[in-house]
């Protein structure tokens, strides 16, 4: 097995790329995809430490995170569709209904 630091740095890289995607992209669908990427990066850490400690709990938590990601994707895309029906756009900076 590789040293655990390799996996930690891989997870860090994916997490940072996901953060950049969340902040810079205007398309809400791509922002949601970046959030999926961040959750995935966290899963790598959980599985890695589950392997290091020889305890399967980390993988159980990774499963819960995958379930959360599925729920979040369903709700988020439902919101995107509802918003598109009202405003004909999915760009983040046009979502200003609550802006004063």
């Amino acid at each position: 097995m590789m040293s655990p630091a390799h996996y930690l740095f891989l997870s860090l890289a994916l997490f940072l790329i996901g953060c950049i995607g969340v902040v810079t992209r205007r398309n809400v669908i791509v922002v949601l995809m970046s959030i999926e990427l961040i959750l995935n990066a966290v899963n790598i850490n959980l599985v890695l430490f589950s392997r290091i400690f020889g305890d399967v709990s980390g993988q159980v938590f990774a499963l819960f995170i995958i379930a959360d990601a599925a729920a979040e994707a369903a709700i988020g895309l439902g919101i995107v569709i509802a918003f598109f029906r009202n405003r004909e756009t999915v760009l983040a900076d046009e979502m200003d209904l609550l802006k004063w």
């Binding site: 899963n43 599985v47 994707a73």
Partner: protein, 177 residues
């Protein structure tokens, strides 16, 4: 040796396609690169001997969530790449903040062995075969120690399903009463 070749292959594919995902303009291209990243991460899971998560990742993420994303991308109209450049300033700030965070975590990871108590045990290598048949162990843990969170997760999925249906429902029928 073989282990490190496999790791660097999957890690390279994952990072490269993640970087392409956040930089491509076309949302469909982003979705395809996200699929590649998730598959590479599934390979990493397999290398870490998490077979059940490997197959769950492929079935649930690549088979379920990504189909949902691509379906929605096809459903809504995505145009206006003309004023795409308006977030240029924000991109600079984002890259600076991400670089700062990355440096911080890197320093912490590299200095971890100097912390009291040895820090996290990230320097040494892990025991080879501590987790025998993976799905069985996972099922035992999931249905004994984590039974209540499991049920709560199922309720969460039910609520999300109902919420998504309500959210995406046709507008006219809700306006009637």
């Amino acid at each position: 040796m073989l282990d490190s070749i496999i790791f660097y292959f999957f890690a390279g594919v994952a990072v490269l396609s993640a970087a392409l995902m956040v930089t491509r303009r076309n949302a469909i291209h982003s979705a395809v690169f996200l699929i590649t990243t998730l598959l590479a991460t599934a390979g990493i899971f397999l290398q870490l001997r998490a077979e059940f998560l490997f197959i769950t990742q492929i079935i649930l993420y690549v088979g379920g969530i990504m189909v949902l994303f691509i379906f929605v991308i096809m459903l809504v109209r995505l145009d206006a790449p003309i004023h795409q450049l308006r977030f240029r300033m924000q991109r600079l700030v984002a890259i600076l903040v991400a670089a700062a965070l990355g440096m911080e975590v890197t320093v912490i990871l590299l200095l971890a062995h100097k912390l009291p108590g040895g820090g996290l045990l990230i320097q040494g290598s892990a025991p080879a075969d501590r987790l025998p048949p993976n799905s069985e162990e996972l099922a035992k843990s999931l249905f004994s120690n984590y039974l209540l969170p499991f049920e709560i997760a199922s309720i969460l999925l039910l609520v999300a399903m109902v919420g998504a249906v309500v959210m995406a429902k046709n507008r006219r029928r809700t306006d009637e009463p």
